[in-house]
Symmetry: C2
Subunit: 295 residues, 2 copies
Amino acid sequence: MKAGVIGLGAMGAGMAANLTKQGLLAAVWNRTYDKAVDFAGQHGVAAAADAPTVAAQCDVIVTCVSADADVLEVVDAMLPELGEGKVVVDTSTVSADTAREAAERVAATGAQFLDAPVSGGKEGAEKATMVMMVGGDEATLERVRPVLSAISRSATYMGPSGAGQVTKAVNQIMVAGINQGVTEALAFGQAQGLDMDKVIEVLSGGAAGSWFLQHRGPTMVRGVYEPGFKMALHRKDLEICRAMLENMGVALPVVEMTLKQYRPLIEGGHGDDDISGLYRSKRAMFENGGNKKSL
Amino acid sequence: MKAGVIGLGAMGAGMAANLTKQGLLAAVWNRTYDKAVDFAGQHGVAAAADAPTVAAQCDVIVTCVSADADVLEVVDAMLPELGEGKVVVDTSTVSADTAREAAERVAATGAQFLDAPVSGGKEGAEKATMVMMVGGDEATLERVRPVLSAISRSATYMGPSGAGQVTKAVNQIMVAGINQGVTEALAFGQAQGLDMDKVIEVLSGGAAGSWFLQHRGPTMVRGVYEPGFKMALHRKDLEICRAMLENMGVALPVVEMTLKQYRPLIEGGHGDDDISGLYRSKRAMFENGGNKKSL
């Protein structure tokens, strides 16, 4: 089984490197072409001239791009080279509608499309510890499992096309609420003068425990917000959620509140911070006698 | 070391039973006196005639009552019988100011007061798996540790008087945010038709993972909201947080939003639901074409 990777950002490059280790990688391509050449040189694979060439040379094409339009653009470019037996696995985070649209276009060639967004960040991509949520045809998922296993800790079938992206949206909304709760609560504790390492330790063992408290709590209370998961990317994902919600006629409080609070932080130059950088604005509420009057 | 328990609600009765098992319990008292007589009959200890009698007969008096005024009332009643060597351990959740006030009054007799709120619910009280956050004098905590170890999994020293209550407040704010995130995200996923058991399983293993998702997710998506932790009690605790925040001139978004959303649920008769009953209102947003127009 020959795999190709399109999109060699932090995530895509990690996945491609892991495919190389398993002897599965046949070709890579990246819009900023130098990146593809660099990667190819380092890992001894071919830098394809364009996306259709990757599609022509590989059985499984893993895409990892930024936005909804990019997914459709790459898919459209590959269509002439796709056909029965080929599978496009899109690991980008985009809307479920985009995933369904891409799946239809690919299916028209006889090939298959899986929406397979991931959770676990750059570190997860590098160490192949990501969790993958897959929508599309279940038999197709099983067929390409060797490729998915090379790049992730688990790949779970979630349902028909789009179900992977919906699951990712659930994940991103949940993370927003947890970020809200953890940053707000710890900022209060710090303003009250508690020993925050003790607080984090005690709370981690109980009903308030979370991955985020354990992994981001100790750094945020020290004003360290190294990603992790960049705030600007979480905003992008929450905007995708908001678009999906718009179609349902729903505005969700946690989503709206988090987008509202991220905005000044990102505009203030903190978009590359980890999402725990929300701690900055929670802390600020306790300064200069509080925010009570301005509410 | 002789221990007494004042307040035999679900939590206090569990703690008293565990003290009996360790041979530490000498007396109990409860405002609704029948409860004390029942407990005493079942566990072979003395039902004291009043709170001062417990104080007179015991070295360590564990109190577990409902509200700030109750703590001060019980403490005031005991003052004539308190003195050097005696320790009052208050496991109630009240404001840090109340804890500091009670500590001062007790200290005037030569006795000691520890604020020692707990996390872990009725089940934790029964199984002695609660986490205890302790404010006051550290040497006193060490002296009464045999009693605390009999009723909790861990008792951590957090700082001077009030620090235990502040830590508990941090816990309750954090739980509010997590409840917001988990209920809102799962309601979205369910409205989108996902297999929710799969969603909970996949998300639990990643950066969105939390105790609450794992323990309350599977029940809330089935419309089951058995406590656990009653919404009416969480509201009471968040109102204590709000009073503490008021003194700092701060209104916290997660606290305000959660109180606002709990209100109609509690008024609608769901105050005895687990806090995951917030799922009701998140679900409702997706019904009848969404809430978008009313925002």
